[in-house]
Symmetry: C2
């Protein structure tokens, strides 16, 4: 029975997680460095598996973008290995004493950073997620329980085989990196319901995955949400700076979650700013409100749906707002709680925006593209959370840990 198989597999991962949690960071870093080496040693096998996956995917009619995401080559393998080495070189997040005190009765109390245990990851067809996620989980003392897509199964299996060889060499349990090879939808749903066996599930996928998770999951999870990010150009904005930030936020890499999807402009500067913005955004399909369209000719009318859309492409919604309150209201209505920027020289406006906009990140006079783990100095990330509990914003090594209270006494009892 599938249930029993998956549960049995999860039990083994769970046992491995306890062993990894007890291991030294020296052993885990060794395993990561040897994993980097092994991925390169196994390159022929990994690339051959990838060719087989690509052929099947092509035959199944997968689109060009998806095929590109699935494709590995020597260069991409080298980046995977480099990412593992760089995680090995990062500081160990474990053991940090988050706070400590001595209570009046003499109890010594500490809160200490410890691993989560088993981290489950459901992801789509990028094979680099396999090694990236496994590396971050191992570094933070967790076991990685991976459920990739069927289209990348052979590639993922070859990568996991390499990483497990490294675990073995480092004297760590190989089950600490485990791939679920049954990629059926039913198994994904079972995976989400392995309560007590998965300590944290991180889904990396589209709306269908998220809604399946909301409906079915009984395990704790952290959502890597959409980014419907706004840039608001205030009345007191330096317009040169605003143009540069809007263009960067939209154009520098349009397909990622921290790219801007919507431009809000204070009405007092709209007539001066919008034509220049449109010129800087040449090639971007704009959807504008009525006031925008009165200034910019040939712009399509924006619907609420446009304002709510994360385009992830060369498209952008544009609205002229009455004032800062209008911008804050618009973001409250349409934003997804990812990253929101204001461009202004007005300190009061900046402070109000920072305080009143409810998002994982708010930026003043900077591009939304800065909201990722590397740019914020957190190192590699497993995703960017738009939820408020546990992790908000880029999820790095720290977000793959939790805290444990440690209390030491000399026989104290409660009165």
């Amino acid at each position: 029975m599938v249930t029993t198989d998956l549960e049995a597999l999860a039990q083994r991962v769970s046992v491995a997680a306890r062993s990894v949690a007890r291991s030294s960071s020296l052993a885990r870093d060794d395993a990561l460095r040897m994993g980097a080496e092994q991925v390169l040693v196994d390159a022929p096998a990994i690339l051959a598996s990838n060719v087989a996956d690509l052929e099947e995917a092509k035959a199944a009619g997968l689109g060009a973008t998806a095929l590109d995401r699935l494709r590995l080559d020597e260069r991409r393998l080298a980046s995977m290995a480099e990412a593992l080495r760089s995680v090995a070189a990062a500081a160990d997040p474990l053991g940090e004493v988050l706070e400590g005190s001595v209570r009046p009765n003499g109890l010594r109390v500490e809160r200490v950073r410890v691993p989560l245990g088993v981290v489950g990851i459901i992801y789509e067809n990028r094979p680099n997620v396999t090694s990236d996620a496994a590396g971050l989980c191992l570094k933070s003392g967790n076991a990685a329980f991976l459920r990739g897509s069927s289209s990348a199964l052979r590639t993922n299996r070859a990568i996991v085989t390499a990483l497990r060889r490294a675990l073995e060499k480092a004297d760590l349990p190989t089950d600490a990196i485990t791939l679920v090879e049954d990629t059926s939808h039913a198994t994904a749903v079972q995976f989400m319901r392995l309560r007590g066996l998965i300590d944290c599930l991180i889904p990396r996928g589209g709306p269908a995955l998220i809604s399946a998770l909301l409906e079915h999951a009984t395990v704790p999870y952290v959502l890597d949400g959409d980014g419907n990010c706004h840039v608001y150009v205030d009345a007191a904005a330096d317009l040169e700076m605003a143009i540069s930030i809007v263009a960067n936020a939209k154009l520098q890499r349009p397909g990622v979650c921290n790219a801007a999807e919507s431009l809000l402009v204070h009405r007092s500067i709209a007539a001066r700013f919008l034509p220049r913005a449109a010129a800087a955004l040449e090639g971007v399909e704009l959807y504008g409100c009525e006031r925008t369209r009165a200034i910019l000719e040939g712009v399509e009318a924006a619907t609420d749906e446009h304002f709510a859309t994360e385009f992830l492409s060369l498209a952008m919604s544009v609205a002229v707002v009455d004032d800062l309150d209008g911008a804050i209201e618009h973001i409250a209505r349409f934003g997804s709680g990812h990253s929101e920027a204001i461009v202004t020289a007005d300190m009061v406006a900046a402070d109000r925006f920072v305080r009143e906009v409810d998002a994982a990140a708010v930026l003043v006079n900077a591009s939304t593209r800065f909201i990722d783990g590397g740019e914020l100095g957190l190192g590699a990330e497993v995703g960017i959370s738009t939820q408020k509990l546990h992790a908000r914003g880029p999820m790095g090594l720290r977000e793959l840990t939790c805290a444990k209270w440690v209390v030491r006494g000399e026989g104290q009892v409660r009165e």
Copy 2:
């Protein structure tokens, strides 16, 4: 339609939450102090409502314990008021800069503590939860969206009326403390699915509530879990100390989640220790393993179910284990991840127990009863979390907040 009503109500709470998030801590503390006063001023109305609730509950056949939990009197009202005053006097958790740095490109990055927004609480018939939870939510800048039990509806309504009067006097939106008056099961399920309108749901109730939540909730939640807490008496324990800790952990207040439910004893001291422990635990129903029963006459045989049970009463399971590993294994199998104690003079054993037992709290030579917000110096708590994400252990004001990244630049864009 019920759906629409509840959603409309939630929308109003959501608007109020944004306003509370912008309010000063002076205003919120004023509201809390005035709430304390108002609860006493309204005492006649609250107590009359409580009498009506009690009569109906008695007629409906509610048991003596439940009736006692539901009952209010002058003294209990005074404690409610006192709790509100003490929350007002606590330090403001908001605005704390959790970390900050300047990036190489000059961006100034901070992570700042902010409110969650709307905190939903589903709870059973203790009316003091109404004011305690509302107070903690307000103090931490959140709106409290409360769904109590039908048996306490009149009492809860009277308490919320008093607190809303205080909000009004403090110039804060009254919807920041809102009671759902429809106490049907269907509405509870709808409440759990108000995604986008409830930022964090905290259930305080039994297994039926938890399983409804796991099945139906789409909003983020923090579970206030069971406490199947163990005391392990090691070979190197001071037996006097061990007796005192076991007795305290079991007897000082048996009905709470941090009371001990299971006693584990190293086999080398079992024959000396168990008879003395049994004497100290007089009146406690013991369920023992075979080795325990060979030492203690007349003890009922323990099943796996006994070992897995949170008795919350004068009952306890007892097992003799081979060694520290045996104790750690037993706790891994049966523990609920709440609070686990070892009694030992052996530093290596203590350190291994601290490291290898996976629980919200581990204690060395101290009673499990110390794991609560007050005893750990966190102030009042909304519950004790046995989950690993967001909050682990006592949930105080800090656990009712989240973080926001704030990035300030001078026009930086990403290369």
